[in-house]
């Protein structure tokens, strides 16, 4: 499983918990993966949007600039499930080899 897939899985998992504010997604992932630049995470997020796995919308605001939120689509839920399955298989394979 590539790191890009892992980042995709993280983004999709966060969105599976509920709609997410785009900027917050970048900050949270960058905090967990400090060696990955936010621009790279943003590129993955846009890639997911382009593929139709997520969709964005403008949230309601009270005075300030409009915030962009992201949510999973049906295709995104399927992709999330597939990536999660791959991740579990990889983890089990590593555990079987004694790599924790």
């Amino acid at each position: 499983m590539l790191k890009k897939d892992l980042l995709e899985l993280c983004l999709l998992s966060l969105m599976a918990q509920g709609d997410q504010y785009g900027y917050e997604l970048l900050r949270r992932l960058h905090a967990v993966f400090p060696d990955v630049q936010e621009s790279a995470i943003y590129a993955i997020l846009r890639g997911l949007c382009r593929e139709g796995a997520t969709e964005r919308y403008q949230g309601e605001t009270s005075g300030g600039p409009a915030r962009k939120y992201y949510r999973l689509t049906e295709a995104g839920q399927a992709r999330h499930a597939a990536l999660l399955k791959t991740w579990r298989e990889t983890r089990d394979a590593l555990t079987a080899l004694g790599i924790e």
């Binding site: 960058h30 630049q37 621009s39």
Partner: protein, 253 residues
Amino acid sequence: MRWDYLFRLSLAARWYLPPAEAAEVLEDYREIVEGRSEEELRRDLGTPRAAMKQLAQPKAYRRWLAVFAVLAACVLVPMVMAHNDVYWSPLIRPACALAFCLGTGLSLLWFRRNGRRKDRMPKGIGVLLALILLGMAWVWLWAGLVLTESWTLLNTIAAYVIEPRTISWYLALEILAMGAVSLFGLVKARLGDCRWRAVYVLGLGGTILTISFYLLLTSMNFDGFTPGWQTPYMIRYMVITLTGLLVTGVSLC
């Protein structure tokens, strides 16, 4: 400093991405860069170029690069041929005609479909168009004297005002300047407003017109001064000038 980063980011976005996507990405990045120093931005986001390059869709970006290469070649190939004095080559006239037709047609089509347009006419377009027109008028002045066979006047000018070699140098310099302005217009049409293509088109027309006259002067081939030798030259210069002006007008609309 943050605005400096954002400025370079916007240039990179407009170079790598289609206009609509670039606008969307820049809107997002305005929020992302908010409240961070240049150092933090470089650390968290990388250089503006690297940040935008990873967003580019390879197929669309390669298509733009191919179009850019063709449009740049339309200006550069005739310039290189003229620089190497290949006036004797049977290829130079067809090459100039092809470059002019391809450059004007392709730029018109490409930027109509893939261009960004602001409400206001961008500053600087008018000045550059006026400069190109001035250069073209200068070429027309000399071409007029040659094509009307005003040898007495030309000899007087050559003897007392300006040496023939200097005229040739001026023309070579003008080809270089027109070509450079044309390429500048091409880059600006991608990075800014698509109406900058008018500068590219008129610059290309000016370059080809100047090259055509430069080749006539350097070849010293006046077809044995048979009656009506000027007609093909006159027609060629008229076609280049009028087509250039017409397409420039369309490009500005």
